[in-house]
């Protein structure tokens, strides 16, 4: 079994033409190891979100290849990409993660329902237990706090046992207590269930929960750090003159 959950090889992403031409990713290569919690950091415009979108098959690349496991995304049709997303990738966005008409429980099983896959009840129970939302399952998103909503989103991302989860500033809209709770839950998901998580963030505290940090600037990987703590991250950010 490959120890790499996903990787980008020489990926370039260009938006626009002529004067409005922007190179969001510039010949970038990066790999995310299986069972690891990786944080992607960088200033605005460094290509964090673009990298995530391309790696998740939400956006196409201009040059280079993206792999989920051994699967080259550039060879897939829209339908195959959709299928890949619901079976092998989980998402946690900064906000608006849940479908307002569905209950928490229905939101969690949504990718499985869409795929027509049966829910593994013991795994489901274990996930909602881990994320501390077991007693909120019947509630609608509007009846949940911001922190609870993000944990439900995390449970949804995990329930289909994806190869990896992309989290885009998952704690960006939360207060510090809810933020710390969520990140701790993500941390334990990686530790207890060997889940792979790639988290985009510009918050040093959030990045401190990860196993490894990849630093981006101007569409390139400029640095990385193993076993970070918030203090080390802040020091490194200063040295990178972000």
């Amino acid at each position: 079994m490959n120890s790499t959950a996903a990787r980008a090889e020489g990926v370039t992403k260009v938006y626009g033409w002529g004067d409005t031409r922007v190179t969001a990713l510039d010949d970038m290569s990066v790999a995310f190891a299986r069972g690891e919690f990786t944080a992607v950091m960088g200033p605005s415009g460094s290509g964090k979100s673009t990298l995530m979108h391309c790696m998740a098959g939400l956006d196409s690349v201009t040059e280079g290849s993206v792999f989920i496991g051994d699967q080259d995304l550039s060879t897939l049709s829209d339908r195959q990409l959709t299928k890949l997303r619901r079976e092998r990738i989980g998402f946690i966005f900064q906000a608006y993660n849940l479908v307002p008409t569905l209950s928490a429980s229905e939101n969690i099983t949504l990718p499985l329902d869409l795929a027509g896959t049966k829910v593994d009840q013991s795994w489901f129970d274990s996930v909602v237990e881990t994320l501390g939302v077991a007693d909120r399952l019947k509630h609608r998103p509007t009846e949940l706090s911001g922190g609870q909503q993000q944990r439900v989103a995390a449970a949804r991302a995990m329930v289909s046992r994806p190869d990896l989860i992309f989290a885009d500033e998952p704690s960006g809209n939360l207060d510090s207590k809810a933020s710390a709770d969520l990140l701790a839950f993500l941390r334990s998901a990686v530790k207890d269930h060997a889940q792979t998580i790639v988290m985009v963030t510009h918050d040093a505290n959030a990045a401190g929960y990860s196993d490894r940090i990849v630093f981006l600037a101007d569409g390139r990987v400029v640095d990385s750090m193993e076993g970070p703590t918030p203090e080390r991250v802040l020091d490194r950010l200063k040295s990178l003159e972000y």
Partner: protein, 874 residues
């Protein structure tokens, strides 16, 4: 401010197009009807001006009867005109109906439903004072002379492929078969026909013999001597003629006849334009809903405008101005569409056998004003409530994420208000249908207002039902479609008010569809009931091809021949004529023009009543009446009443029997001998025939047809024939009404399109999220279409419920007219198109499918959203 409005309109072109489309279709139908009927009216004006050009004075007769044969003048009286001072020459004519032209194969010549064939005298006026009068003249061949010659108008000649000199056959209801030589072909005025009517011409003595009017005339035309005052001559002629003769100047006559046609046309105009107004009414819901959603979507934009210093009044103005702009654009395009529609009708109607005179299109200022005003005002009023809401948007809303949803307390209040309105509406409806409206407004006003108020109540109450009902519909759908069905169900439930308002537009049109279906279904049920259970005869002999004239008749020889058949056990002859029934009641005198049946003593053996009082066999001077009519006139056994006959005046009768049951519905029976003496006509309109034991209706029919072969103007019908003929007529009527309602249905469905398009726009982020977590494009489309389908079916359910209810109320109110059976036509009555279209389940299914079709565009838009952009949206 105008610029803000116009930019608002332009920024949402789809919304503009859909909203305007509702106006275009509604205004188009109304203005199209106006233009078309105005054009026909103009053509008729021209025809009558032609017909009376050169006639100084027109003489006719007047009658108290709307449906009768008309009254006549004696030739002896007419001869007196010659001696009136100032009269140069008087030219008499006789007109009537009661002939059938046969084609070369001996079949009845027919171009489809239309007016009866007219018979008229026609003489050569060459060299007389009438040389230049309008009307019919022979264009080819010669004028008919003597009992062996006939002339046809160009239309009849073309239809039958006849040429001058051909031998032709004409069947007279009164004197039977006539073999004639076609002496000539007549044209009207400059060479056309007379509005598509069919004419058969004889010389005067022959016409009198064919119509059995010896020595009688319908009227005449008079030329005055040069210099004479027409008014004086009119007075002089009036003085020598009997009271029922009418004498007017040719110019007045042309105007009167044109006015009569205009009156008839205006009924036609109103009837057709009602469907246009219904379409606009449905459209108003679409517009209301569109603006409601738009205002809530633009809450932040509007709040920003408020924050920048726009007043509440200015905000209202912006929304209303946007509405009026769309309304005006729609109305202008609608007028254009209407003119095209009228032009198309002129081309299409003659092609399907409906011949009406044509002229260049008549676009009156009234058409333009009504069209523009209707389109603009309806949009304006529909947007009024949303505009008010917009003006109440607070500055704070610009900073908040979302506006609050409806509260529980609002629901209770809604239920109460709705219930009160519903009770008021039901009260109005039932009072109009069953109550005694006395000297107040006519019952139709109460019914109309009642129906309108009930609609209002349903729309106030429907948001309460929207949640549970769409939940139920969605649950059924979810069984088949899984997750997309569940998402659709939840989406349909998330805003009950929006769902209800969208469904409302569907509801109105489907209510009318269901009402039409229920009424035709009930009429069919009543006919089946009457024919199957209440007529004891194997076949009935009827006049053929006399489209719905119940007093059409045939010669007594028909019954004589049938009586001579071995297969026939017994028969009864029925004569039918129009009469004026007058009854003195305690509250006043009641007079109505109704059909009088001339019955033989054995009639009750053929149409056995459910029950009766007194006798079923009226003797001379006696009458038997059906119970419901007797109740209407408040008459009891032994009471006296008066029936006036067109031919012989008033006759007294005594009520000796009251019969009950659907078979006798509408029957007022006098002895056959009395009817014959009162009308001077020994002829029959129906003959019921019983076969001898063991002979089936079809066998009897097959045996009778050769015996009656030389009477092509009669038909032998089994009751299955009668059923299928009635079925065909009902289906034709239903198809016609459904075709007109189709527009309203389409507009209702456009409302669904619009709401779904706006919902997709609103839920961009949500759809992006769903796509990101694995909803593929196809399922996205299915989700949107399923929601549209649920909303449409919800609207159709309410519409079908209302339609059934209104149908039931109408049938109950019309019970007196013989509507014995109330049928809810859930299933198709037959495998025909009309049979299927008349079924309510079909419409339920159809709206579900239409919902899917009309959501194709929003669904496509939803599926096409780029996931990243959708997530980034807001």
């Amino acid at each position: 401010m105008l610029r803000v409005s116009l930019k608002g309109v332009w920024a949402h072109k789809v919304r503009l197009v859909l909203t305007a489309l509702a106006i275009i279709l509604g205004v188009g139908l109304i203005s199209g009807v106006y233009v078309y009927t105005d054009t026909i009216g103009k053509a008729f004006d021209g025809i009558f001006a032609d017909a009376y050009s050169g006639i100084d004075i027109a003489i006719g007769t007047e009658s108290a009867f709307s449906f009768g044969e008309g009254t006549y003048l004696d030739e002896a009286d007419f001869a007196l005109i010659d001696d009136v001072p100032g009269v140069e020459e008087a030219y008499p004519y006789l007109q009537g109906i009661g002939v059938t032209v046969l084609d070369a194969e001996g079949e009845v010549l027919s171009s489809g439903p239309g007016p009866p064939t007219f018979v008229s005298s026609l003489s050569d006026l060459e060299g007389s004072a009438y040389d230049d009068t309008g009307g019919f003249t022979i264009a080819e061949g010669a004028y008919p002379v003597g009992s062996g010659q006939v002339a046809f108008d160009r239309g009849v000649a073309d239809l039958g492929g006849f040429e001058v000199g051909d031998r032709v056959t004409v069947i007279s209801d009164l004197v039977g078969r006539l073999d004639l030589e076609l002496a000539g072909i007549a044209v009207f005025g400059e060479g056309g026909g007379l509005g598509g009517t069919k004419w058969v011409f004889f010389d005067l003595p022959t016409a009198q013999s064919v119509l059995q009017r010896p020595g009688q005339l319908s009227g005449g035309a008079v030329q005055v001597t040069p210099g004479a005052q027409i008014d004086d001559v009119v007075a002089g002629i009036q003085a020598v003629l009997p009271e029922h003769a009418t004498v007017v100047s040719g110019q007045d006559a042309a105007e009167e006849e044109a006015a009569e046609i205009q009156a008839a046309l205006s009924f036609f105009t109103i009837f057709l334009s009602v469907f246009g107004w219904v379409a606009l009414f449905v459209g108003s819901f679409l517009i209301y809903n569109t603006f409601r959603i738009v205002v809530s979507q633009r809450t932040r934009e509007l709040a920003l405008l408020r924050a920048l210093g726009a007043g509440a009044r200015q905000i209202r103005g912006i929304v209303l101005l946007e509405a009026v702009t769309i309304g005006l654009i729609g109305a202008v395009l609608g007028l254009g569409f209407g003119i095209m529609l009228a032009f198309g009708l002129q081309l299409i109607l003659p092609a399907v056998g409906i011949e009406l005179p044509t002229a260049t299109l008549s676009i009156k200022p009234r058409t333009v004003i009504v069209g523009l005003a209707a389109g603009t005002l309806i949009t304006f009023f529909s947007a009024l409530i949303p505009a008010r809401r917009a003006s109440k948007v607070s500055v704070m809303a610009a900073l908040r994420e979302d506006a609050a949803g409806p509260t529980r307390g609002g629901f209770l209040r809604r239920a109460l208000v709705g219930a009160v309105i519903l009770v008021l509406g039901l009260g109005g409806l039932f009072f109009g249908l069953f109550g005694d409206t006395g000297s107040g407004p006519s019952p139709i006003v109460y019914v109309g207002v009642g129906v309108g108020v009930i609609f209002l109540a349903v729309f106030v109450l429907s948001p309460l039902a929207a949640g549970p009902v769409t939940n139920l519909l969605g649950t059924v759908l979810e069984r088949f479609t899984g997750t997309s069905g569940r998402l659709a169900r939840r989406n349909a439930m998330r805003s009950p008010r929006r769902t209800a308002a969208t469904a409302a537009a569907v509801t109105i049109s489907i209510t009318l569809v269901a009402l039409a279906s229920t009424l035709t279904g009930s009429i069919r049920g009543t006919l089946d009931e009457v024919l199957a259970n209440n007529v004891d005869a194997e076949v009935v002999v009827l006049p053929a091809g006399q489209f719905g004239d119940p007093s059409a008749a045939f010669a007594p020889e028909v019954a004589e021949r049938m009586e001579g058949m071995d297969l026939v056990a017994d028969l009864t002859r029925i004569g039918i004529s129009w009469g004026l029934l007058t009854v003195e009641t305690p509250t006043g005198t009641l007079t109505d023009e109704i059909l009088i049946t001339g019955a033989e003593p054995n009639l009750a053996g053929f149409i056995p009543p459910d029950g009766f009082r007194g006798s079923l066999d009226p003797g001379p001077g006696e009458v038997v009446i059906e119970a419901a009519i007797a109740d209407d006139y408040e008459i009891a056994l032994g009471d006296s009443l008066v029936i006036e006959f067109e031919q012989s005046g008033e006759r007294p009768f005594t009520l000796v029997g009251i019969a009950e049951g659907p078979a006798w519905a509408g029957i007022v029976a006098v002895p056959a001998t009395d009817l014959i003496s009162a009308t001077g006509r020994d002829q029959h309109s129906q003959v019921y025939v019983q076969a001898v034991e063991g002979v089936t209706p079809d066998e009897l029919k097959a045996a009778a047809e050769p015996i009656l072969a030389d009477f092509p103007n009669v038909a032998v019908q089994t009751f299955e024939d009668a059923q299928s003929e009635a079925e065909a007529q009902l289906n034709g009527l239903l198809n016609f009404i459904l075709a007109l309602l189709a527009l309203a249905v389409v507009i209702g469905m456009l409302g669904v399109t619009n709401t779904m398009a706006l919902a997709v726009f609103e839920r961009t982020r949500e759809i992006g999220l769903l796509r990101a977590v694995g909803l593929d494009r196809r399922t996205t489309r299915r989700m949107v279409r399923a929601e549209a389908s649920i909303v449409s079916v919800f609207g159709a359910l309410m519409g079908i419920g209302l339609g059934i209810f209104f149908g039931w109320a109408l049938i109950k109110a019309l019970e007196d007219l013989g509507f014995a059976v109330f049928v809810i036509p859930w299933l198709p009555s037959s495998a025909s198109v009309a049979g299927v279209l008349g079924s309510l389940l079909f419409w339920l299914l159809a709206t579900g499918i239409l919902g899917i079709l009309f959501a194709v565009y929003p669904a496509w838009r939803a599926a096409r959203l780029k996931v990243i952009e959708a997530i980034a949206h807001l």
